[in-house]
Symmetry: C2
């Protein structure tokens, strides 16, 4: 029998009525002939409550205890979902991460799944069970302690189960009905995409479109898991949502698929850095050690042995980054005249696999921004993405202008 | 190093401040040189919330899923308590039931502890850990599923750990400062007992004094665990609370130790039962099969082959008991003229190991009730207890009269 994975996020299981609504969808898929693995998040708000308690108790918490506490919300939903299915006469049972077991690394609060042995659940399917409800976001380390996979980790749980069980598809039920060409709150012309390539989804996810955890997309790409994002609040339909799939499965598409943004960026510039071989390592080594997520990097042309080095990082890491740089200066590892932080910037990006075969996307992007008199502070590019750092006050305007310029309101 | 078990009930860990207060007490005992095993309940109200969700989801729930859901509250408290101790520089970690493991029977929602292997926790104590925080109320069945021990089960967890680890004492921290001669809300003359014998505590617990789960007292008696009940809201003191201990450790005491009551009793009478050998089995077999907890039983003297049979049970089991009796009549197992239920009764009991060596306690009890014009409907006695069923409206008066009559306001 074919196996289908269905994942329900926090808003889709926020209360008993919504759990019932989700269970009905599961029942439909069982009636369609699938064995179903349901991955559930905690009821919305529950994990935040638990995280709040942990932070109040112990700001520098023991991540092993953090995991033991914050994983409890998913266990509640899993049991309630299994009961709801049983009430509908669908044979179901719940599994906590350690019961499967979902074997992970020991990087508590940010563990990675290493293995999901299928034997226990398969044996139950063989006995006639039709739905395995699994608590998402959690696993067990080789030391026998509970681990969690980082915020949004239930997406990754779902994809990992789809890969382990060779599922026909992994449906991610959430509170939006798919992936859009941009945030509909910013551009009323935003259009839902029927399909999007893994690579594009990866760029969008890491650029701040919060539909899927980045890691889950990586995993789906590696294991060729067909991933569908759809709303649990709309009527069931075969064409609903957005299918995240291999590039080859997308017949035609626009050159650019979407416009993403990230609001909480900061731009930091080290002025008059003494330039020498290895200076980049001397700067970005300490930043990495301090846990700063450096995103874009730009180095000016060196002049008289001195250069300016600019990088971007999340706004809430500016203090940490500054301290790391001052420390490195004090210890003599690097030398610079000044460190300037601009916390009023945002990142706007255009993403599309079509860029690989179409020239001129960058030029069109820069022109669209120039026409709105938006100054570009930093540029980075990848094969399928161009990102710019601009003043934050122009962020919405830039997104709208780019969406218009690339004609994203119309399907390609 | 000596091991001490400390159990904190729901009100003692109701929020982060109370958890901190409880952790301070644990820290004191660590400073006193003990290794400590802390057993925690869920924050007060949490388990009720979970039970409510389960009942709403599935009135005839799968008890295995019930256990998976309702056990989650204790996990949260255990992790938070471990973190709080770590913040105080006390080496601590949390353990969920399956991690210890607390091995239980498979009677879900009402499991019994079968074994607590000490190796895992002992190894951590040997490495320098000073406090093992264990989620109470839960265990794991031989099928690898989570079990719970019934409401109040954390008391039993605590005593079982004290027995397994040969602890010097098992301290049960709650919201009352000990065991009283009667409920202080009913008699202002109620006096806290410094010591009480296991047998007396057992009778009091099963008679409705809700300080300790009955099973925990049985277990403590069997394994000679020194059990102390005390308040987590009073200042620490060596003489605080009530010590539940062997009879031999109680130097002197009153003949009667306490007056207990149970409000939700019903009296049921089968009129003109056809009397024959085996008739009691024919009546109480079906009641037991129907899950009715029959307490007191009285049979009138048989007259012309017919007798009246009276028994008591909890008020909320009256319908179930009636149905079982009507069914047994229909099937011809028993024959009776009528079944009369009186749901307006209460049980009042006097308890004391001193009764064993003192005659006249029953006579004194009946006289005290007669002086208040309280009619006795049913009487039962055990070695250390006399219980009577009376009209519920006289319950408070009876408790006060008996407390006065046996001079319980003064220590013996």
């Amino acid at each position: 029998m074919s196996t289908l994975v269905m994942k329900f996020g926090g808003t889709s299981v926020a209360n008993l009525d919504r759990i019932k609504r989700a269970a009905k969808r599961v029942g439909l898929e069982v009636a369609n002939g699938h064995n179903v693995i349901v991955i559930v998040s905690a009821m919305s708000g529950k994990t935040n409550e638990l995280v709040g308690w942990v932070n109040e108790t112990s700001p520098l918490f023991d991540a092993r205890e953090y995991d033991a506490v914050v994983s409890s919300g998913e266990n509640v939903t899993a049991g309630l979902m299994a009961m709801t299915l049983q009430e509908m006469d669908v044979p179901a049972r719940s599994w906590q991460g350690w019961q499967v077991p979902v074997i992970t690394t020991s990087s508590h609060a940010n563990a990675r799944i290493e293995d999901i042995p299928v034997e226990n659940i398969t044996a139950k399917f063989d006995e006639g069970m039709r739905v395995a409800v699994v608590a998402g976001f959690q696993g067990i380390s080789s030391e026998g302690r509970i681990t969690t996979l980082g915020r949004g980790g239930s997406d990754t749980t779902a994809v990992a189960f789809a890969a382990a069980f060779d599922a026909v598809r992994c449906d991610i039920y959430t509170d939006v009905d798919g992936v859009y060409t941009t945030d509909p709150r910013i551009s009323s012309k935003a259009r839902k995409l029927d399909r999007i390539a893994f690579e594009e989804m990866l760029e969008l996810a890491s650029l701040g479109a919060k539909v899927l955890q980045t890691r889950s997309v990586e995993l789906a790409m590696r294991y060729k898991v067909k991933l569908r994002v759809l709303s649990s609040f709309e009527e069931p339909s075969d064409v609903a949502g957005t299918l995240v799939c291999d590039e080859e499965e997308i017949m035609e598409s626009n050159v650019v698929s979407g416009v993403a943004y990230s609001r909480d960026e900061a731009k930091m510039t080290l002025l008059q850095v003494a330039d020498r071989p290895g200076i980049a390592a001397a700067i970005f080594g300490p930043l990495s050690d301090a846990g700063v997520n450096v995103d874009m990097i730009v180095q000016n042309i060196s002049e008289e042995g001195r250069t300016d080095m600019t990088f971007s990082c999340p706004t809430d890491q500016v203090l940490r980054a500054s301290k790391a740089m001052e420390d490195a200066k004090t210890s003599g590892e690097i030398n610079f005249a000044d460190l300037v932080a601009d916390t009023e910037v945002a990142k706007v990006s255009v993403v599309g696999i079509g860029m690989r075969s179409h020239a001129g996307v960058a030029a069109q992007m820069f022109k669209a921004l120039r026409d709105e008199n938006i100054n570009i502070k930093v540029i980075t590019t990848s094969e399928i993405k161009i990102s710019v750092l601009i003043d934050r006050k122009y962020m919405e305007l830039a997104v709208q202008a780019l969406h218009d310029s690339f004609g994203l309101e119309k399907a390609g």
